[in-house]
Symmetry: C2
Subunit: 293 residues, 2 copies
């Protein structure tokens, strides 16, 4: 064994990194979607293609694939038996399928204890304590994803309509939102009928921006969002010295708003999810660790 | 003119009542949907058919339709120019198209001042002060309809997942809900993906039922819902002697939970929406009123 593979696959693309047994990445490549829930054989094909291209990018022979072990982090790997089904048909010397969250956590905090909060269109959390990982959240914006961009955007539209009806006080932000919809609440309702999480989430940066300027509705929404995020962090029961990484598009906006308890735990992520897969492969298959933090 | 017509039309059916100029209903009938937003000519056909059948039910000649004035309460009448378009093509001697809420209010509180709260799968409010009506709410459960069955059901699923993740305390109610979904949060998420307001609202009676038994999560959800309903009532700025009617499937469940301020205003509705259309027709076209309350 001269190399290990890290794979990071999801609904839009699949990335692969080829690394030496010391964890030095020597080739990277990208292919199409690897959605194991909707297309297992298509996912396998794109995973293998990304691996092949990573060998080629490294100037190495793809014929080495059957001698190379791989860690794969894949969205949906925690549901049903997709993980076992995929592991059975992969061409690597050894294959271990983890969730996308697991390799993201490894990338962010390394192999030791620590936690991450993914704060984007959705929200999800994962913590590792004494080697054991626990994931919470990520249930989608309809009945979960508290503090997410989607929830913040939905809250803003709700507050905008409440202000329109004179039920709650308006603000420059709700005025601006209503203007986006031609000052017509029917247009807001029309928008919400088919809006996807990302459509609601598109309004979230506006809320942070207006909160900075002191907008009371924006601050009300974000105070609730921060409380929701901290309630989730609270459930992770983090140790006082555990590194906490914020990931996702809203991470830099949330960081300065967290309370002192969590501010002191914040660390920049060591690496991304693909890097996490590589490091996990080195740790598990080559018996080496870059050490904790 | 010997008769007046009251019409109550919506997305599933259209009801008509023929009454004497004194407001005594002599014939009733029902036909198909009268959705003026999606099918204006189809709505007209069903409206005329319901009117015809009401004449026949009363033992009267439908040929009298062109001599008979009508009040029509139709869902969607407040949007765009559907109202004017329909009035122009109706066969009655005089036609006046109102919203479904307007005739429901007339039915509930009569021609004087008063208010109604429709508390069902959705929520909406209307008040009349010095002859002027004002409607608020009814924007749908995604970003409105606070306190509705749909919102209560959605809140319950959210609290159930938060309890599952250990973020908020669970209760017998959240335990029971999770059991409905085979103790699998993925099943909850699956349900919410395509759930209609009525699907969420189906859980609302369960929340009221458990709240009665002291369930803390049920009471937390309902305290919020009652506060939301009262915030909307507050925005209506009701007079101290104005009758307030609660309509909709959740009305009897909400009534005992309202604060004293609103308890004292509560009155049973005088009549339903169709009766309201009839009484409005008598008042406007025959110049007679049954008097306020």
């Amino acid at each position: 064994m001269n190399f290990v593979l890290g794979i990071d696959g999801g609904g839009t693309s699949c990335r692969a990194a080829l690394a030496t047994v010391d964890g030095a990445v020597v080739g990277r490549a990208k292919s199409g979607a690897a959605n194991i829930r909707t297309d297992l054989t298509g996912a396998r094909a794109n995973i293998v293609e990304a691996a092949r291209q990573a060998f080629i990018a490294a100037g190495q022979d793809p014929e080495l694939i059957p001698e190379t072990p791989a860690i794969l982090g894949l969205a949906g790997a925690n549901v049903g038996t997709y993980r076992q089904q995929l592991e059975a048909i992969l061409p690597f010397s050894k294959s271990r399928v983890e969730t996308d969250a697991e390799i993201a956590l490894e990338g962010a905090v390394g192999s030791g204890d620590g936690a991450m909060a993914i704060l984007g269109t959705g929200t999800a959390y994962m913590a590792r304590k004494k080697g054991k990982s626990r994931a919470i959240g990520g249930w989608g914006f309809q009945v979960g994803d508290q503090g997410s961009g989607a929830r913040i955007g939905r809250d803003l539209l709700e507050q905008t309509l409440l202000a329109y009806d004179g039920i709650r006080p308006g603000s420059p932000l709700t005025d601006a939102m209503l203007a986006v919809f031609r000052n017509n609440p029917e247009d807001v309702v029309e928008f919400t009928t088919n809006a996807k999480p990302g459509d609601f989430g598109g309004f979230a940066p506006k809320v942070f921006e207006h909160a900075e300027k002191g907008d009371p509705v924006a601050n009300w929404i974000l105070d609730k969002a921060v409380a929701d995020v901290e309630a989730s962090l609270g459930a992770l029961d983090l140790a006082d010295d555990a590194p906490l990484c914020l990931l996702g598009g809203l991470a830099p906006l949330y960081a300065p708003r967290l309370s002192a308890r969590y501010q002191t735990l914040l660390k920049a992520p060591l690496d991304d999810a693909l890097g996490g897969a590589v490091q996990m492969a080195v740790r598990i298959f080559a018996g080496k660790s870059r050490g904790g933090r």
